[in-house]
């Protein structure tokens, strides 16, 4: 009645042979994550630069030119041309040919010299707030700096008379504001979740769908041996994926890893187990491989949207945060970012580990209950 390593080993070996023969799936497991890493790592940028900008100039003095030059050197703005009326500027914003229109008011330089603190108007297309956000945040600093640099010599008095405002931006952990530093650790969570959940669910359902499960359970093999033998190979795949990922993160994207490797290893293993359990649960619900695939996809979407991978977690409404908290990826994302970017150790990630453990407990309980029912 006891656990047999011979039988467990046989299932494990068989699973590896099948994995090797199924070239497409195997390629997907190793190739797709790398491709996604390269794509997302390089392509997604929430701090976009070189945005098309138009200028409506009613003043052409040296101060104005200094302001425009300053904006240009900041690399946020890419000047496309000059508009002569407000309508032209509005039209350009509407049809998307420009993201910004800078309006220099008439007599700008004269007012600066007189100390009247004139206003520069920056009209922006805010339909994509994240695209324009960084540039908007940077504009006052850029302008201020540019104006001060010009107001030298006899005009020095005007510089000190100008509005004494200063914007301090202090970016911690990611001083350059590089998106890849944030997105690469997050991507690991998403890709692990995708592979572990979907492949596990499909691998188990495939056995039922093809009728091999019936022949298998007619042999003396125990259900536990089958499950373990089927799941272990994919744990190994998860290890390989993570290794490839960490290497790419280090060499390609120069994402730091300053925390405790042990803490990461512990959290990462727990995360894999949670996802396998979820895949197992799906396999008890799905009747075909197609269904298993679809259900897996449904679990994937919230992992991407609500976990804080795509959008800031703190910016979500309360109910969405509640849903997000129930998603394992949310906690793994926090954990990974903490360890890799902020140098956390095991004590710092205990709350995330605890949350994942609870989620796992719930999933395993439901999965085992369902598994017993499907045996009949």
């Amino acid at each position: 009645m006891s656990f047999s390593f011979t039988r467990f080993g046989a299932v494990l070996f068989k699973e590896f042979v099948q994995m090797r023969r199924d070239r497409i799936t195997f390629g997907m497991m190793i190739g797709v994550p790398i491709m996604q890493l390269l794509l997302f790592g390089f392509a997604i940028n929430s701090d976009p630069k070189h945005l098309p900008t138009l200028v409506e100039m009613a003043d052409q003095g040296p101060v104005t030119r200094a302001v425009l030059m300053g904006m240009k050197t900041s690399a946020y703005f890419n000047f496309q041309g000059i508009v002569t009326s407000q309508e032209d500027g509005d039209r350009a914003l509407r049809d998307g040919s420009a993201s910004f229109v800078v309006v220099i008011p008439p007599g700008f330089e004269r007012d600066v010299v007189r100390g009247l603190a004139p206003e520069i108007l920056l009209s922006t297309d805010a339909s994509d707030p994240s695209a324009a956000g960084a540039a908007v945040g940077a504009i006052s600093g850029i302008v201020d700096k540019a104006v001060r640099q010009t107001l030298t010599g006899p005009l020095h008095y005007a510089a000190s008379a100008a509005d004494p405002f200063s914007v301090t931006v202090h970016k911690q952990y990611n001083p350059e504001g590089r998106t890849s530093t944030n997105i690469v650790p997050g991507l690991l969570g998403i890709i692990l979740s995708m592979t572990m959940v979907m492949i596990t669910a499909v691998a188990i359902v495939r056995e039922t769908e093809r009728g091999t499960m019936e022949a298998l359970i007619a042999t003396p093999v125990r259900p536990f041996e089958v499950m373990l033998g089927k799941i272990m190979p994919y744990v190994l795949v998860g290890y390989v994926q993570t290794l490839v990922f960490l290497m790419a993160a280090h060499f390609l994207f120069e994402v730091p890893f300053i925390g405790s490797p042990f803490a990461f290893f512990a959290g990462f293993n727990l995360y894999i187990v949670v996802n396998l359990a979820l895949g197992f649960l799906i396999s008890t619900v799905a009747k075909s491989q197609m269904q298993a695939m679809q259900i897996s996809f449904f679990t994937l979407l919230p992992s991407i949207l609500l976990s804080g991978f795509m959008f800031p977690f703190a910016g979500m409404p309360g109910w969405a945060q509640t849903i997000g908290t129930a998603i394992p990826a949310t906690h793994f994302l926090r954990l990974t970012r903490k360890v890799m970017l902020k140098g956390a150790d095991l004590a710092d990630i205990s709350s995330d580990m605890f949350a994942m453990a609870i989620i796992m407990l719930v999933i395993v309980t439901v999965a085992l209950k369902r598994y017993r029912q499907t045996l009949d």
Partner: protein, 316 residues
């Protein structure tokens, strides 16, 4: 009968799925060394019964033993000693022939795995194709490979669930030759089938319909147990005669075998009167004969179908 002589002996076996009773108080005795035919229409509960007897399903009611092990409490021991071949091809199509055999051998934790697998390959005549993927085999070869997998651990009892469904006649004949060879070696075989010509080859037969057993016994006794009287009719334009016989009172069953017609009835006297009347005309040649298994099964299937049309839902 002494249960010690029985490979399988079950009493009052019942299985319900939700509110449906799929197998209803089923009794059966399979003598050791026999080829036992298990017949019945689709959805009659054959597969469920077989699964309960080999420890795959726990019955809701009833009791029994299989090879001396209790079907309720010792399913693990039954699995170790029984070979079960499922209805569908249930080997791994993406594994080679050798890998499939080797995998099954490891499931039974066989000691001399390598030699046993080699022997099985030799027995199949597939030694040269051992590294071919199982999925590329023809239907007949798949069935033979499945059977070889079931026999790998030398079980004393073979449970075959419609093993020859969808297999060509030549392969079916080969398959049955193999079954008889195994039976001669003392292996008990329980085989479910749809085919009449296969049923005829069995020593014992049980007929199940809609979860209930209608009849069982030694194959030669079945026609007498049903009590069918049969006349054989030969002559010109047999199609017209067939139509006429179907309308004639006193004839319960008309079965056509090529150019020959078999008419049967449980009421022998009534049928004899019909025969006497027609023989006077002399157009057709009438001959009384002992009822065979064929007529018996057609009769059983006809009654079973009636039984079956009432509740529509079918369960395998």
């Amino acid at each position: 009968m002494n249960t010690g002589d029985m490979a399988i002996s079950v009493r009052g076996l019942t299985k319900t799925f939700g509110s449906r009773t799929v197998v209803d108080h089923f009794d059966m005795d399979v003598p050791k060394g026999a080829i036992y035919g298990f017949l019945g229409p689709n959805g009659s509960g054959k597969t469920t019964t077989i699964r309960m007897m080999c420890g795959l399903l726990i019955p809701n009611g009833g009791s029994g033993q299989c090879l001396g092990y209790d079907i309720l409490t010792e399913p693990q021991s039954i699995k170790e000693n029984v070979g079960y071949m499922t209805q569908r091809f249930s080997l791994y199509e993406d594994l080679t022939i050798r890998e499939n055999l080797d995998f099954i051998a490891r499931m039974y934790r066989m000691k001399n795995r390598k030699t046993d697998v080699d022997d099985a390959l030799k027995g199949l005549g597939l030694t040269d194709r051992a590294n071919q993927l199982a999925g590329t085999l023809s239907g007949g070869w798949k069935q033979r490979l499945s059977l070889a997998c079931c026999m790998l651990h030398d079980p004393q009892l073979l449970l075959l669930d419609e093993p020859t469904a969808g297999v060509d006649p030549k392969a079916r004949r080969d398959f049955w030759d193999e079954i008889r060879r195994l039976s001669a070696k003392g292996v008990t075989v329980l085989v479910s089938t749809h085919y009449m010509d296969e049923a005829v080859q069995c020593d014992y037969i049980a007929y199940i319909a809609y979860g209930k057993k209608l009849i069982d016994g030694p194959a030669p006794d079945i026609p007498d147990m049903i009590g069918l009287n049969t006349w054989r009719i030969e002559g010109p334009n047999i199609t017209k005669m067939e139509a006429e016989m179907r309308r004639t009172a006193g004839v319960e069953q008309v079965a056509r075998f090529g150019s020959v017609l078999h008419v049967s009835s449980t009421d022998g006297a009534a049928l004899d009167r019909v025969a006497a009347e027609h023989r006077k005309k002399g157009t057709y040649h009438w001959q009384k004969q002992k009822g065979g298994l064929e007529e018996a099964f057609i009769y059983l299937m006809a009654t079973a179908t009636d039984n079956f049309t009432e509740p529509k839902e079918a369960a395998e």
